[in-house]
Amino acid sequence: MIGIASYGAYIPKFMVNRSQIAAAWDFPSIPGTKAVANADEDSLTMAVEAGLDCLKGFDERSIDGVFFASTTAPYLEKSSSSIIAAALDLRKDIITTDFTNSLKAGTTALLVACDTIAAGKAGKILVIASDMRNPEPATMYEYAFGDAAAAFLVSGGDDVAIELVDHVSTSEDLVGPWRRAGDSFVRQMSGKYDDVAGYAKNLASAVKTLLARTKVDPASVTKAAFYGADLRAPARIGKATGITGKAVLDTLFMSLGDTGTAQVFMTLIAGLKRAKDGEVIVLGGYGDGADAILMKIAPGGKDKLKQVKRTRRGYMMYSAMTEIVSTYTKYIAFRNALGKEPFKRKTSTVTVHRDGDFLSRMHGVRCKTCGTVQYPKWRSCIEPTCMASSNMEDVKLAKRGKVFTYVGDHLEGGDYYETPIPRCVVDLEGGGRILLNMTDCNPADVAIGMDVEMTFRKIHEGGEFFNYYWKCRPPRERAGAQEED
């Protein structure tokens, strides 16, 4: 059996109220909010978060591949999936690749992962869809585009909870939304042609072909996650395919916005509650063609999902732990619409690679002489009472800890949008002490002894490349906000 064994999601902490956008431009207001990534986030860092959520309880050494799907990969040349795999501390003998340039990249990556496993080339592949599409200010896209990431762990083992039955893909050469290399913003021809001749026609036809081929009665489908660039689009696909309106899942457009490649994944994750064994699920991705995927809750899948759910933040926990940005301007600064020079430090691709074990993988060492767990990977013990040389063993450090001391650093004011930057000395669970900048926080709330967790972020753009590293933040979880069973 091949299918989904686990899921994970990530929603940035900050939300923009659409009324804030309306007020900024004196436009008519539309209801709802949308999720917006912080200035130090991008589709890659959000993907790491969703991947961490997805792999909880799974041995990361068992993962044979990472497929990253996004229309907004930070690099045009250089793979994001390899950076994500390192941040997730996966093995190096795995396949990593990026699925890009189409809004259906997520569903396509999912299909290819299933087929790769079916071909016997891998046992488990982590598929992460993440998007941070930059809307042109003062356009309808600014109301629509939201930022999020969602992940599925595709497995060929007996841990599969949602089984893949079949899939159909189509290709269509039609200029829908586009963004040329070098363009800052997504463009789209006005009018309904793309919606009718592209979206509705392709997606509905792929779904109908799939259901006919597998002899599945559309009325028996109880969960359908269709991509939709607007609130009502998925319902139109339901109607055209005979799938009941009740089965068509909420794309979360009103709360998160159109989250691009991540949308179909997030829709299913949010819609998985009260899943029953045998339930029939249809996923529909669209973008320059369509993907239709038929899935079924596997026998015993309900219990497996319940088990997974317990440790997932998923949609429920993350969406319960958000905050509306105080001003529209703050959101605009996140997207650097002010055109400020990015923060840069002197850096080196050599250093970043050589130190990857402790920069991305967050490994430290334990001194075999005195037992002290320490960071980064020193060759000799940092404790003045020991200082033993070359007697270290590698250890994987916990990504949680408590603040030992901190400072609100105002002095880097010119280099960041927001000061003070809380810089925290953190004692990690299980040993190791580290200095981390804090993000997604109110600096006034930082205190000695507070719990923090690590989050992978864009630190600076020295050397004209993205220098990623970890920061800390107040934990994005609280009791009582878990998903319902």
């Binding site: 850096t347 980064p376 030992f404 609100g408 650093d409 002095l411 000395v425 200095l435 590293y469």
Partner: protein, 391 residues
């Protein structure tokens, strides 16, 4: 300490520093020349009498190598070395000069320090995005010391007012010093209300960027009587430097309420000088008050008071100009600013003049032993010197 040590082997026979401050009128060469010429004049020698020289400079942008000094004072063909050891660069320049004289390699050596910071136009110390690891966080200098302040507030219950009293005391002293950068008194309210630099340290908790230079001419006590200060030359009783980590935030056992480098350097210096009770024996101290929190922690690390009690001792006047142990009677870094390489030598010049009874600002009454203390980096490098009178 080796078996021989350095006690009573070095005599300071010439000492001078420039006016510190925003020296828009001068470049680094001008500052060095001004200080070295002053020191030579004080010693009653021509610069050509200098046999070897050291200059403490931290930043690379004002020139590398011993030519920084040779070109600065136009004295070519001699052994000259540029010394860098963070904020203790000046103290380390002095240590190197002392070792050369103590070894008998030269009779007359120059120790100097300089830094030209104002031309960099930086808010806070420049270059923090240029050095250190490519990605690992590097706090600004005040942020490093704020990590200690936060911890001292938590452990000892210290407050912003406790920090402010350091600034108030040092400004009260510095207002009398003709060569200080800042010569105005401040109140506790001024300090507490100032804009934040690195919370909890505000503007008046931080020393300023400044330009300046300082120089000392040294020789042996045997030769000293034949120079201008033959009657009142000062001798080195101890000279210690201690270096710990650049990144104390990775040190699991570190508590951030005391600085290991200072404690270690102080222990070594007291041992060498034969000081058993610094509270009774040290007549005055110029300590590294780069930030107000630093001075409080220094006073404890140097053994001037019990752990956690520096604010109380300060409040009771113990560290005032006329107290038990005057700390920073010159006004300290708070009033002089901190041209990095110059500071260590500036303190040594200051204490020399105090011991000679010719201090520029507030002369401490009848001092016998004076201490200088320099602290650099993230509490990384500490230098402690003890100066006194000839045996």
């Amino acid at each position: 300490m080796g078996q021989k040590g350095i006690k009573d082997k070095i005599a300071i026979i010439g000492a001078e520093y420039t006016k510190f401050g925003e020296r828009w009128d001068a470049n680094q060469e001008d500052l060095l020349l001004e200080a070295v010429t002053g020191a030579c004049k004080d010693a009653g020698i021509e610069k050509t009498a200098i046999e070897a020289g050291w200059v403490g400079v931290q930043y690379y942008f004002t020139g590398l190598s011993g030519a920084t000094l040779a070109d600065g004072i136009k004295l070519y063909g001699k052994p000259m070395t540029r010394v860098e050891n963070y904020c203790a660069s000046g103290s380390d320049s002095f240590r190197n000069a002392c070792y050369a004289v103590a070894a008998g390699a030269v009779d007359i050596a120059l120790a100097s320090g300089v830094e030209k910071l104002m031309d960099q136009g930086s808010r806070g110390l420049p270059g923090f995005n240029e050095f250190g690891h490519a990605v690992l966080p590097l706090p600004s200098a005040p942020a490093m010391f704020s990590l200690a302040a936060t911890r001292c507030f938590h452990v000892h219950g210290w407050t912003k007012e406790d920090l402010a009293r350091v600034a108030v005391k040092n400004h009260a002293n510095g207002q009398h010093h003709p060569k200080a950068h800042f010569r105005s008194p401040v109140t506790i309210e001024d300090v507490v209300r100032a804009p934040m630099i690195a919370d909890p340290l505000g503007r008046f908790d931080c020393c300023a960027m400044s330009d300046g230079a300082a120089a000392l001419i040294i020789t042996t006590p045997e030769l000293a009587p034949s120079y201008a200060h033959g009657d009142d030359y000062v001798v080195v009783k101890a000279n210690a430097i201690s270096v710990y980590t650049n990144t104390p935030w990775y040190l699991p056992s570190f508590d951030f309420t005391g600085f290991l480098s200072t404690q270690q350097a102080a222990a070594a210096a007291y041992r060498e000088a034969g000081v058993t009770d610094p509270r009774k024996e040290i007549s005055l101290a110029e300590v590294h008050d780069c930030f107000t929190i630093t001075e409080l922690v220094n006073c404890e690390d140097l053994g001037f008071c019990d752990r956690g009690k520096a604010p109380e001792a300060l409040k009771n006047g113990k560290f005032n100009w006329d107290g038990d142990i005057p700390v920073n009677p010159s006004g300290g870094l708070k009033c002089f600013g901190h041209p990095i390489g110059a500071t260590g030598c500036r303190m040594l010049v200051e204490v020399t003049k105090q011991l000679q009874g010719r201090a520029d600002g507030r002369q401490v009454k009848d001092p016998q032993l004076g201490l200088t203390h320099n602290l650099g980096g993230a509490f990384t490098v500490a230098a402690v010197n003890i100066l006194g009178k000839p045996r």
